[in-house]
Symmetry: C2
């Protein structure tokens, strides 16, 4: 239970690397992939998701690459994880009330809600600045 996927792991590695680079430097995907030891084609998919979530800005063509969309202290670990893994939901029931028919009688429900809330707020307190050790 509660395991981060390899994709999530790679995502964090990649973005933390980016956070460690000079703010206005555009990094090549190939460089990032080599530095953090992740297959480049796979990392490409991950950075596409980052781009859509507004965590990174991408530039195409010659001289293109990736940059953080905001300074590292304004990007949280929660954002990064949820960008690639989707919302954190310890139990399907937590997604939305009524998702399971046993809802009304389910005393476990509120416990998962607390786990979710607690975890999200912990991850929200950690920024890329912290992780990059700047």
């Amino acid at each position: 239970m509660m395991e981060l996927t390899r994709k999530g792991d790679y995502a964090i590695r990649g973005i933390v690397y980016l956070a460690g680079q000079p703010l206005d430097k555009i990094s090549l995907l190939s460089d990032i992939a080599a530095a953090v030891q992740v297959p480049q084609t796979f990392l490409a998919k991950i950075f596409q998701q980052f781009s859509k979530s507004g965590i990174v800005k991408s530039y195409r063509g010659t001289g293109g690459g990736f940059m953080l969309a905001r300074p590292p202290e304004q990007i949280t670990l929660l954002e990064v994880v949820e960008a690639v893994e989707g919302p954190i939901t310890p139990n399907r029931c937590v997604i939305a009330a009524g998702e399971c028919e046993r809802d009304s009688i389910c005393t476990v429900h509120p416990v998962w809600a607390r786990v979710k809330q607690q975890t999200r707020s912990l991850l929200a307190e950690v920024s890329l600045k912290d992780l990059a050790g700047i």
Copy 2:
């Protein structure tokens, strides 16, 4: 991320049902399965794990079945979940130091350790008595 499997869900349903029964009553697997709407053969595997973990006591043969091994207030949700899902580990690195080679440089590591610790202690505070609403 962080999703409880269906097995874990079923496990909780089954054990909470048992906690709601009279303390010394031996319940049939077939009854439990029917009550909580889980395939009996699948629930059988789950209760075998419970039995090995010492959460329930099993009796074979005619008149056999299952009973909680301890009173409901002495069995925690953490025990139940870990019995069937294994240890709660948000990230492979958290399992043991040195599991990943990037260990020493990995600033994310301590964050996962906190998530793990926090979640475990929350689940440890909830007993079957609470869940069964006794």
